[in-house]
């Protein structure tokens, strides 16, 4: 499932559902578990409902009535962050934990990335 319709159409996956929300909200709005559930239930029904490869459907949800977010998404400033080549932690505490984690305690939760390029 995804929110970039043109990119999904280009990739052409076996099954796809489109949620017309701003990027960063592929599975719903924050702190709205009931909406998140509705979105996911509708998305998941398409696993069985689709019968042909390349099928795509739009989910019946709108981010807002006026949809002004689309103007910003289409024409707003370039707000991407620089392409740092070092790990970008959410918090300094995360960095400290990752850098001090003993590998022997790391089973499961901290399974090492298998390819760092």
């Amino acid at each position: 499932m995804g929110s970039a319709l043109d990119i999904m159409q280009a990739v052409h996956p076996p099954r796809a559902v489109f949620l017309d929300y701003p990027l960063g909200h592929t599975t719903g709005k924050p702190h709205e578990p009931s909406l998140q559930r509705d979105i996911l239930v509708q998305a998941l029904t398409h696993f069985a409902a689709f019968t042909e490869p390349g099928s795509m459907a739009a989910l019946p949800f709108r981010w807002s009535d006026d949809e002004t977010w689309k103007d910003t998404a289409q024409r707003g400033p370039d707000d991407r962050l620089p392409r740092y080549d070092t790990p970008q932690y959410q918090t300094e505490d995360d960095r400290r934990r990752a850098e001090t984690t003993d590998a022997s305690c790391a089973v499961g939760v901290n399974e090492a990335p298998t390819s760092t390029g």
């Binding site: 599975t27 578990p33 998140q36 689309k70 995360d94």
Partner: protein, 161 residues
């Protein structure tokens, strides 16, 4: 409903402004592979892969330059231990509630309610925005496929950002 945002056009414009040549998007013309669901969703084991830069505190975070690594996230993890990092989308809401890009609580609820048979024990995450489609295809995708097969999932939900 207004027209969807044209992200391919948007990114082409950004690249032009920066003086870069156009990004070569993957365009798959042929019909994709097809595998019907073998049993009802309510009896299926569901895998989850998300590209929104999710990691667990204690894991090494993603970097922003063609990071083709992935993280293994136990699906019984505490939601408050999830973190989000990404260079190309506004992750403000995702950091407040990771379920908007990594629907873990949502899927755990759907398992409880028997909408899905079960959520696989492990989910896999990476950070999208990998420029090289070749590296994605040759390095990352085969590893994730192998993992899903080993986990014996019946279906996999892909959640890109």
């Amino acid at each position: 409903m207004s027209e969807p945002v044209g992200y391919i056009e948007r990114i082409r414009d950004k690249y032009e402004t920066l003086g870069f040549s156009s990004y070569q998007w993957v365009v798959n013309e042929e019909a994709p592979a097809w595998q019907p669901l073998k049993k009802p969703l309510s009896e299926s084991r569901l895998g989850l892969i998300a590209s929104g830069g999710i990691y667990v505190t204690g894991q090494v975070a993603f970097h922003y330059k063609d990071d083709t690594s992935f993280r293994v996230i136990p699906t019984d993890i505490k939601t408050s231990d999830l973190r989000v990092t990404h260079f190309a989308y506004d992750f403000t809401d995702a950091r407040q509630d990771p379920n908007v890009v990594f629907p873990l609580d949502t899927l755990r609820g759907l398992q409880r309610d028997e909408v899905i048979g079960e959520l696989s024990e492990r989910a896999y995450t990476f950070m999208g925005g990998i420029y090289s489609a070749r590296r994605m295809r040759e390095e990352l995708a085969p590893q994730l496929t192998e993992r899903l097969l080993a986990d014996q999932v019946d279906a996999a939900l892909l959640v890109p950002v």
